[in-house]
């Protein structure tokens, strides 16, 4: 089948502002949108820039807006879209650096701000082996360990669109992963950060994050659980 790709273009080094280019491509219903982008760059216009790596939804490089919805280009198949024009735009709320590439640094800065690492200064088990954790304790935070930091959630969040200072869903998801890890001892610190102006209270439960997550993480639920945890400790 023949498809039209309508792609957002922007090059900071030329004076022209952002615009859209249209490309005709031959596609199979089972093609990934990423395959189409590769075809355009390979055979039609090699000035098109986008990020990609693993091409099967685990590395988080190719999050973008596809027909108005955040997704990984490698996880959206042509047949899922049901349209003969596919509009492809960069993530919203982060500065566009070139075409579909946005500046991820603010996103990672929010991630770093919630202390995304195990905090536990207690002595290790004397036998040098693993810290014990029951299956139930492990299960408690399983969902939020799946995050690949692709930014599809954070850049679909209306609060983040309005204010880039909002910590955003991805950072909260990663905080949740440690807050509910029975081995961690830093959760009150994280809760204090998340109780602030840019934290969980900015969540208006618009659910765009959960709908956009390519890993099917229950993001809004995780945020609500963090909210409860803060209420419990305040």
């Amino acid at each position: 089948m023949r498809l039209t790709l309508k792609i957002f273009r922007y090059d900071p080094n030329t004076s022209a502002g952002p615009h859209y280019d249209r490309f005709q491509v031959e596609a199979d219903p089972n093609d990934r949108v990423l395959d189409l982008l590769e075809a355009v760059r390979g055979d039609q216009d090699d000035t098109l820039s986008f990020r990609r790596s693993c091409a099967h939804g685990v590395c988080g490089s190719d999050a973008m807006r596809i027909n108005g919805l955040n997704a990984l280009a490698c996880k959206v198949l042509v047949k899922d879209l049901n349209s003969d024009t596919i509009q492809i735009e960069p993530l919203l709320g982060l500065r566009v650096e070139k075409d579909l590439i946005v500046d991820m640094e603010p996103f990672f800065a929010h991630y770093r701000s919630i202390l995304p690492y195990l905090i536990n200064d207690e002595p290790l088990p004397e036998d040098g082996k693993e810290r014990l954790q029951s299956e139930a304790e492990r299960e408690r935070f399983d969902d939020t360990t799946k995050c690949i930091l692709c930014a599809a959630c954070t850049t679909s969040c209306p609060s983040f669109w309005a204010d880039g200072q909002t910590i955003g869903p991805a950072a909260i998801v990663n905080a949740h992963r440690f807050i509910f890890d029975s081995r961690d001892r830093g959760r009150l610190k994280r809760l204090k950060i998340l109780a602030g102006q840019a934290g969980v209270w900015r969540c208006r439960t618009a659910f765009n994050c959960t709908e956009a997550c390519p890993r099917d993480i229950h993001i809004t639920r995780a945020i609500a659980e963090v909210k409860q945890e803060i209420l419990k400790h305040s």
Partner: protein, 598 residues
């Protein structure tokens, strides 16, 4: 921005090996990680099944058994001293990861959970042993995340989205690297006392591959261009179970949980090829079995694929036939929910890309290019070796998939890639920091960016008669057909010839993008050049090796030939495009080569 940077230790690559190296170098040396991707995008994150270590958490196990399985898996080409070192160190390394916060799946008594995996056995009974430590089916993801988290905690310096395009050598010693900053297109020079390459594999030279787009062999190619050799390039692993056509990996853990491979007749054909451990035989064995079944006309619908059946009724039927039991001795019976809970991501891939629910329908699979056993020759300490005598390049280290220690020999055992990058990443980091502490800062060569600048300029200044995308397509198809699961003299000769032609045609491409910011076309073209170089070396080394061993299977030389070929290959590529091969002996300590049966 200043484009000259100075550090004690530079780590090139932000995957598992690179981050591990950085974490261990940083406490004693000013360290920076230079990565062409954001580190969390690295392909370590795609590893699914687990990391092998003889913890013995669910049944008796010993690191010596792990070592023997690795030697046997390597088809005796692995260096046994290195393998012993790795398998022994693996145990503590896994505990280290747990202490770093890695959320392993757990046993009922709260320990790290372990499951069976291809090629891992109890050496006394020959039966599969539960050795693979896992976190659902995203162990690599958890390793990558955990290591990156620790890097944040330890405030490691990162240069994200910097593509290293050249290694600087002064008097045979590493002096730094040259990198392109993707955002600006500027060249940066990094000066250092020690450099660690951890750039990953080169599986993108094959058409059907489980590898990331970024797996273009940058490290080995850069070193080749600087006159250093690569080792054992003819050995590249084809994983038996890639999703049909896409190549996306379906982990062995699916078979570990009881999944069965079936041909068009509905036969469990692995009974023929590995009567003892059947579907859990080593990867090369299973890949070849699929190929042979296909050749015998037993592929599904004549479409060159087989079925991987993990429906509970199938799993339970064959588990009963095999007499498989749970650790407590009860018969192994699973429900659909239990299977899905062990392989959630695989189930997601199947639904997304195939529209198949793996507990209701079998999964169409075919072998997919997966892992480079070969790469930059290194010592057990991670030092890069300059020749067949084991001469070390001072200040230069390599670890992870881009390196060849060699612990995987002719065929890597499942889970051992993660073991490799954890153990050797760590030791490369420690040793590089040691080296940096005692070494002075080498001078920079005159005009350090000249060679890199020249390479990039050539890509922009070609005649434009050829298109990079087209050359890439031809290379991948050629490699899959002629330098794939099975190889012949004729095919390999054709491959070498065609690759030399493709390399000539490559000089006629011209990158159309003249921009600076995120000129991905330019860098992709440069990466294609790397793949072409490595493909040529691979085909040439494969042509020379007239035997079948591990992943290198020759139709015309079907047997292993220890008399003539129990040796590692080293390949140099000269400026004229000629490959020069030399060989060095395999280190054998206590496992004498014998026939490999599963």
């Amino acid at each position: 921005m200043d484009t000259l940077h100075t550090y004690d230790v530079l780590v090139i690559g932000g995957g598992g090996a690179g981050l591990m190296a950085a974490l261990h170098a940083a406490p004693r040396a000013r360290t920076a990680v230079i990565s062409k991707l954001y580190p969390l995008r690295s392909h370590t994150g795609a590893a699914q099944g687990g990391i092998g270590a003889a913890l013995g958490n669910v049944e008796e196990d010993r690191w010596e058994w792990h070592a023997y399985d690795t030697v046997k898996g390597s088809d005796y080409l692995g260096d046994q001293d290195a393998i012993d070192f790795m398998c022994k160190e693996a145990v503590q390394s896994v505990y280290d990861l747990e202490h770093f916060g890695l959320p392993f799946s757990r046993t009922p008594d709260g320990r790290i959970a372990q499951r069976p995996f291809g090629g891992h056995t109890n050496n006394e009974t020959g039966k599969p042993v539960r050795r693979s430590c896992y976190a659902a089916d995203r162990t690599g993801h958890m390793i990558l995340q955990t290591l990156y988290q620790q890097c944040i905690k330890n405030e490691i310096t990162f240069y994200d989205e910097f593509q290293v395009v050249d290694l600087l050598l002064v008097d045979g010693r590493a002096a730094g690297v040259v990198a392109v900053e993707l955002a600006s297109g500027e060249l940066h020079t990094f000066r250092a006392r020690a450099v660690i390459f951890a750039t990953g594999g080169h599986g993108r030279m094959w058409e059907i591959t489980s590898n990331a787009y970024s797996f273009t062999g940058d490290g080995p190619a850069v070193l080749l261009r600087r006159g250093l050799p690569v080792e054992d390039m003819e050995f590249f692993q084809f994983h038996p179970t890639g999703i049909y056509k896409l190549g996306i990996l379906i982990t062995e853990a699916v078979r570990g949980e009881g999944g069965i491979l079936l041909n068009s007749k509905g036969e469990r054909f692995m009974e023929k090829y590995a009567p003892k451990i059947k579907d859990l035989a080593s990867r090369d064995v299973v890949s070849r079995a699929i190929y042979l079944e296909t050749r015998a006309g037993n592929d599904i619908n004549g479409q060159r694929y087989m079925l991987l059946d993990v429906r509970p009724e199938t799993v339970n039927r064959y588990a009963a036939l095999d007499g498989r039991t749970r650790p407590d001795g009860s018969p192994y019976v699973v429900s659909a929910e239990e299977i899905l809970s062990k392989i959630p991501d695989i189930a997601d891939f199947c639904r997304t890309y195939l529209g198949v629910d793996p507990v209701k329908q079998p999964i169409p699979i075919q072998p997919t290019a997966h892992y480079a056993m070969g790469g930059i020759p290194t010592s057990i300490r991670g030092e890069v070796l300059a020749d067949e005598t084991g001469r070390v390049v001072p200040g230069l280290y390599a670890a992870g998939e881009c390196a060849c220690v060699s612990v995987h020999g002719a065929n890597r055992l499942g889970t051992n890639s993660l073991v490799d990058l954890i153990v050797f990443g760590k030791h490369a980091g420690l040793n590089a920091a040691d080296f940096a502490a005692s070494a002075d800062l080498p001078p920079l060569p005159e005009n350090p960016q000249a060679f890199a600048g020249h390479q990039l300029a050539a890509l922009r200044g070609g005649s434009g008669k050829e298109r990079a995308a087209q050359i890439g397509r031809e290379m991948r198809a050629l490699m899959f057909d002629e330098v794939g699961v099975f190889r012949t003299e004729q095919g390999l000769e054709k491959a070498v010839e065609t690759l030399q032609d493709l390399r000539r045609r490559f000089t006629d491409i011209r990158v159309g993008d003249a921009g600076k910011a995120y000129n991905t076309a330019l860098l992709n073209a440069w990466e294609l050049g790397n793949l072409l170089d490595l493909a040529l070396v691979t085909a040439r080394a494969a042509l020379a090796r007239r035997e079948s061993r591990g992943a290198h299977a020759r139709d015309d030389y079907p047997a292993r030939d220890d008399q003539n070929w129990l040796k590692h290959s080293l390949a140099w590529l000269d400026e004229a495009g000629q490959v020069h091969l030399k060989y060095k002996p395999v280190t054998i300590t206590h496992y004498t080569p014998k026939e490999r049966t599963y």
